[in-house]
C-alpha cells in the first residue's frame, strides 16, 4: 500500500541549521505538487535552546500539523529523549551520528551527515545528506529534491559551478545509505495535478500580502512576537510614493498614528500581539467613536500579560470585541488557515472602509509561524472596497445621517472635527441626551451592513454542530471528516467573521441542540459569546500553548455529542 500523507519532525538545538532544511524539504515537495505544512515551536532565547519543527506532506491539502510523527530526525541527546515517544509504532528515528549515539534497532537509524557530506567536497551539504536519507525513508522520489536543488542554486554566476553537483551527490549518499540498510516507510502516492499555481508562505506573509492587495497605504508598528515579521515585511515593501511605513515608539503611538493617517484618507493598519493590543484599548475606542476606518492585527500569543510570547493561543477574542470602556462592539475577523490570512485581511480592510471604523484581524502564533502552500490568489478577482468620500461642497455634515455617510478628507470640502467626545453632526462636543442616543445608535446601526458575510455550513440538518474558529479550523475539520467516516451525525459551521456573526448563520445556530466549539483558551470565549447570543454552545478548551491534535478532538466531540 502506498502512503498519502506523512509527518517528519526535526529536533535539535536552535542554530544547528536544520530548520531551514525542514522548510526546504517542505518547499521541495510543494514544487513537486504535494501539499505541505510546517509547524515549529521556538524557545524564547535568541540563539540555541531546544527547538523543533515538523513538516507534514500530503497528496491532499494539509489541514493540521499531524498528530503523530512518522519520522523523527534528531540532532542531539536531549531532542531524542524529549521526542522519541511521539513516533508512531511503525515510524523511524533518524539521527545524526556525528552528534550523538543511540542504540541501533530496526526503528532507529544513524547517519553521519557531515562526514558523508565531506566526501562530496562540501561539508555544508550535511543537510542534503539528511534530506536524501529522508526522501528514501518516506518514499519521496529523489528527483523532487534534485529539482529543488537545481532551482535553488542553479544560478551559477551567484553560487558557482560546484554547489549543485555536490548537493545532488550528497542527496544520493543519504538516500543510498538508507536504501542499503533497508529502511522504508512506504512509497508516497504521486502528487495530484493542481489547477492553480501555488505559493509557499506563512500566515504573517499572507496577511502582509493581503494588506498590500487591499491597498494599505500607511503602516506603523512596534516590534512584538509573533507580529514583528509583519512590521519587517512592511518596512521592506511599503516604501513607495504616497505610502508610509515606520517603526514607532510604542503601540500607543502606533494606534493613534494610524487613526491620524486614516483621518487623512489613507488605508491604515498596524499589527501587534496581546500586550500591545491591550495598550491600544483607548485608541480603539477613539476610532470607534470618531468613526475612523483602521485595521488592527492581533497575532495572538499565549497567556495574559507578557504571557507566552512564543506559544499559540486563542484567548484574545472577548477583549478584542470590547477592548475599551463604554458601549463598543468591534468587528472581528479571524482567519483559520494561511490562505484565509490573505483573504481575511482584505475583508478586514473592506469592513473598515465600508462601516467606517476599527476592525480587528485576529490571527494566531500558530498561523504566523506556519509555512504552507496555498493557491496563488487571483488578484484580478478580488473585491476591494474603497472609502466613500464626500464630494459635496455645501453644508455637508459628517455625522448627520443615521447610516453610512461619506467621509470628508482634509484638503477637500466638508471640514469637521473627528471627536472622541460625544458630538453633534459637525463633530463638535455636546452633552445633549438626544445626541448621545442618536450617535450611539448611528454607531451600532453601521454594524448591520456587516452581517451578510460568508460562512461554511455542512450537514446543516444535524442537531449537533461543530464550530471551531480561527486556527482550530484545520484540526477541527480533520476531526469532522473522521467523525463522518464513523457515521456520527454531526454538522459543520465555520466563519471567519466572528463579530458580528453572519445573521443567517446565527439564526441557524440558535435552533440547534448543541454547538460544539473547539478553542484554544480556558474561558471558552467563543462559546460564551454564542451563548450570550442565544446559542446553546459548549467549548472544548485547551490551554497548553500548542494547537489541537485531531484525535483529541475526535474523542472529545464524540463524548460531548453522545452525552446529549
Amino acid at each position: 500500500m502506498k502512503n498519502t500523507d506523512f509527518v517528519v519532525r526535526f529536533a535539535g538545538e536552535g542554530g544547528q541549521g536544520f530548520l531551514s532544511a525542514a522548510i526546504g524539504f517542505a518547499s521541495a515537495n510543494t514544487k513537486a505538487g504535494y501539499h505541505a505544512q510546517t509547524f515549529a515551536t521556538f524557545p524564547s532565547q535568541i540563539t540555541g535552546g531546544p527547538t523543533w519543527m515538523q513538516t507534514r506532506i500530503s497528496i491532499d491539502p494539509v489541514l493540521s500539523r499531524g498528530d503523530e510523527v512518522d519520522v523523527l530526525v534528531v540532532f542531539n541527546e536531549y531532542a531524542y529523549e524529549t521526542h522519541k515517544n511521539e513516533v508512531k509504532e511503525n515510524g523511524f528515528i533518524l539521527y545524526d551520528s556525528d552528534q550523538l549515539n543511540i542504540e541501533p534497532s530496526e526503528k532507529v537509524l544513524g547517519i553521519a551527515f557531515e562526514k558523508l557530506a565531506k566526501t562530496t567536497g562540501n561539508a555544508r551539504a550535511a543537510n542534503m545528506v539528511m534530506m536524501g536519507a529522508l526522501a528514501e525513508l518516506v518514499g519521496v522520489n529523489l528527483s523532487v529534491l534534485e529539482d529543488f536543488v537545481k532551482e535553488r542554486w542553479g544560478d551559477t554566476s551567484r553560487y558557482g559551478e560546484q554547489i549543485v553537483p555536490q548537493n545532488i551527490a550528497a542527496l544520493k549518499l543519504g538516500s543510498n545509505e538508507v536504501q542499503d540498510r533497508g529502511f522504508k516507510l512506504a512509497e508516497i502516492e504521486p502528487a495530484k495535478p493542481l489547477n492553480t499555481s501555488q505559493i509557499f508562505l506563512n500566515g504573517n506573509e499572507a496577511i502582509s500580502l493581503g494588506a498590500y492587495s487591499a491597498g494599505v497605504e500607511f503602516y506603523v508598528g512596534y516590534p512584538i512576537s509573533p507580529a514583528t515579521t509583519i512590521l519587517i515585511w512592511m518596512e521592506k515593501n511599503l516604501v513607495e510614493k504616497n505610502k508610509f511605513v515606520h517603526q514607532v515608539s510604542s503601540e500607543i503611538e502606533a494606534i493613534t498614528a494610524i487613526i491620524g493617517a486614516s483621518y487623512g484618507g489613507k488605508k491604515s493598519m498596524t499589527a501587534t500581539a496581546g500586550p500591545g493590543f491591550s495598550l491600544m484599548s483607548e485608541g480603539l475606542g477613539l476610532a470607534w467613536m470618531a468613526e475612523i476606518p483602521i485595521v488592527v492585527v492581533d497575532v495572538q500569543r499565549g497567556g495574559p500579560a507578557t504571557g507566552l510570547p512564543t506559544k499559540t493561543e486563542q484567548s484574545d477574542l472577548l477583549s478584542s470585541i470590547t477592548p475599551a470602556h463604554g458601549d463598543v462592539s468591534l468587528p472581528v475577523v479571524a482567519p483559520g488557515t494561511v490562505e484565509e490570512c490573505f483573504y481575511a485581511t482584505i475583508e478586514a480592510f473592506n469592513w473598515a472602509e465600508k462601516y467606517q471604523g476599527p476592525v480587528i484581524l485576529l490571527s494566531e502564533h500558530g498561523l504566523a509561524e506556519r509555512q504552507q502552500n496555498i493557491p496563488k490568489p487571483d488578484i484580478n478577482s478580488l473585491k476591494i472596497e474603497n472609502r466613500i468620500i464626500n464630494q459635496s461642497t455645501d453644508n455637508y455634515y459628517r455625522y448627520e445621517s443615521q447610516g453610512i455617510s461619506p467621509m470628508p478628507i482634509p484638503g477637500s470640502p466638508g471640514p469637521y472635527v473627528a471627536n472622541a467626545s460625544e458630538h453633534d453632526k459637525m463633530g463638535d462636543t455636546t452633552h445633549l441626551p438626544e445626541r448621545h442616543i442618536e450617535m450611539t445608535e448611528r454607531r451600532f446601526k453601521k454594524l448591520e451592513i456587516l452581517k451578510d458575510s460568508k460562512y461554511e455550513y455542512i450537514n446543516s440538518k444535524s442537531e449537533i454542530i461543530l464550530m471551531p474558529w480561527g486556527g482550530s479550523k484545520g484540526p477541527g475539520f480533520e476531526a469532522f471528516e473522521k467523525l463522518q467516516e464513523k457515521n456520527i451525525d454531526i454538522g459543520w459551521a465555520y466563519t471567519m467573521f466572528l463579530n458580528p456573526l453572519p445573521e443567517k448563520l446565527l439564526i441557524e445556530l440558535q435552533s440547534k441542540k448543541l454547538v460544539i466549539v473547539p478553542e484554544l483558551n480556558y474561558l471558552g470565549q467563543f462559546s460564551s459569546l454564542l451563548r450570550s447570543q442565544g446559542v446553546n454552545a459548549k467549548s472544548i478548551t485547551q490551554y497548553t500553548g500548542l494547537p489541537f491534535k485531531v484525535q483529541y478532538l475526535v474523542d472529545q466531540i464524540t463524548e460531548l455529542s453522545s452525552k446529549r
Binding site: 500607543i252 503611538e253 493613534t256 494610524i258 491620524g260 491604515s268 473627528a418
Partner: protein
C-alpha cells in the same frame, strides 16, 4: 460649512482665560498662512488635546479648518500619522501643559528625532484646568492645588530647556496676552520646515492666575517675569538659547531654529529612492513554489 454656528456646543472658557488670546493669535496665523501660500483653509488641520485648551478646535471662529479632538495626551501621534501620510497638509497641534508634558510626554522625543513637520502650540497654565485645578508638571514645587493641599512635592518641569535638549528644530516662547507677537511666532512655527513648538504662557484665571506675575505691575513694583528675548540673540545658536533659558525667567520670542535637519517626509523620500517600486504580482511571485 463656511462659518461656524453651533448652538449645541456647550463649552466656554472662563472670563479672562489666557486661551482667548491664543485663539486670536492662532486664527490670525492660519489666516496669514492661507493668504501667503494661497492655499485653502481646508488644507489646515488642528489637532487638539483634552483640556480647556483643547476646546480651541471647536471655538475657532470664521472659516473652518479641519479638526481632530481625540484622547488626552495623544495629539502628537495623531499628527505624526496625518502629516507623514499627507505632507501636503498644514498640521497644527494645540494642547495644555498636562496633556503634552504629563500623560503625553513620551511622544515628544520621537517627533524631535524624526523632525516631524508639524507646529505645536502649548497653552501652559501650570495647572489642570478642565479637571478643576490639580497640579501639572509645570506647577512649581510647593504649589498648593486641590491635589497638592500641602504643597507639590515634585520639582517644576522646565519645558523650554527640555525642548532644546531634545534638539527640536524650532522652539519659541510666547505670552497669551501679546496676541500680535504670539501670532507671529505661530506663523513662523507653521512655515518652519520641521518640528516646531510655540510654548505659550496662558494663565488660568480660575485656578492659577499668573497674569500679574508674568506681565508685572509697575504700580505694585512687580517686575514682569516674562520678557522679550534680546534682539542680539542668534536663534541658530543652540548653546546661546540654552543659556537664555537658564538665566532668564520666561524669555519671549524664538529661542532656537535649525533648518539643517531633514524632515521626516524628506527622510522617507530618501528611502523610496533606495527601494525598488513594488507591485503585488512580483511580491506574490517571490513566494512561488
Amino acid at each position: 460649512m463656511a462659518e461656524k454656528n453651533n448652538p449645541e456646543y456647550d463649552f466656554k472658557w472662563c472670563p479672562g482665560c489666557g486661551d482667548f488670546g491664543v485663539k486670536k493669535a492662532l486664527e490670525a496665523a492660519i489666516k496669514k498662512k492661507t493668504i501667503e501660500t494661497e492655499e485653502p483653509i481646508l488644507n489646515n488641520v488642528v489637532i487638539a488635546g483634552i483640556g480647556c485648551s483643547g476646546n480651541m478646535v471647536h471655538l475657532l471662529e470664521g472659516e473652518q479648518p479641519y479638526g481632530f479632538h481625540g484622547l488626552h495626551g495623544r495629539t502628537l501621534p495623531v499628527a505624526m500619522g496625518l502629516k507623514s501620510s499627507r505632507p501636503d497638509l498644514n498640521v497644527i497641534v494645540v494642547a495644555g501643559d498636562g496633556d503634552f508634558l504629563s500623560i503625553g510626554a513620551e511622544h515628544i522625543a520621537p517627533q524631535a528625532k524624526r523632525n516631524l513637520d508639524v507646529c505645536v502650540v502649548i497653552m501652559d497654565n501650570a495647572v489642570y484646568g478642565l479637571t478643576k485645578g490639580q497640579s501639572s508638571p509645570t506647577s512649581e514645587e510647593g504649589m498648593i492645588t486641590s491635589s497638592t493641599p500641602y504643597g507639590k512635592t515634585e520639582q517644576g518641569f522646565d519645558p523650554l530647556a527640555y525642548y532644546l535638549s531634545l534638539g527640536i528644530s524650532f522652539v519659541a516662547s510666547g505670552l497669551s496676552s501679546k496676541i500680535k507677537d504670539l501670532s507671529e511666532l505661530i506663523y513662523e512655527g507653521m512655515i518652519h520646515p520641521g518640528f516646531s513648538i510655540v510654548h505659550v504662557q496662558s494663565p488660568c484665571t480660575e485656578y492659577n492666575n499668573t497674569y500679574e506675575i508674568l506681565k508685572g505691575s509697575p504700580k505694585k513694583g512687580i517686575e514682569p517675569l516674562a520678557k522679550p528675548i534680546d534682539e542680539s540673540h542668534n536663534p541658530n545658536d543652540l548653546k546661546q538659547a540654552m543659556e537664555i533659558v537658564d538665566t532668564s525667567n520666561i524669555p519671549l520670542g524664538i529661542l532656537y531654529q535649525s533648518k539643517v535637519q531633514p524632515t521626516l517626509t524628506q527622510r522617507f523620500e530618501d528611502l523610496t529612492n533606495k527601494s525598488k517600486q513594488k507591485d503585488i504580482e512580483s511580491l506574490l511571485k517571490s513566494y512561488s513554489v
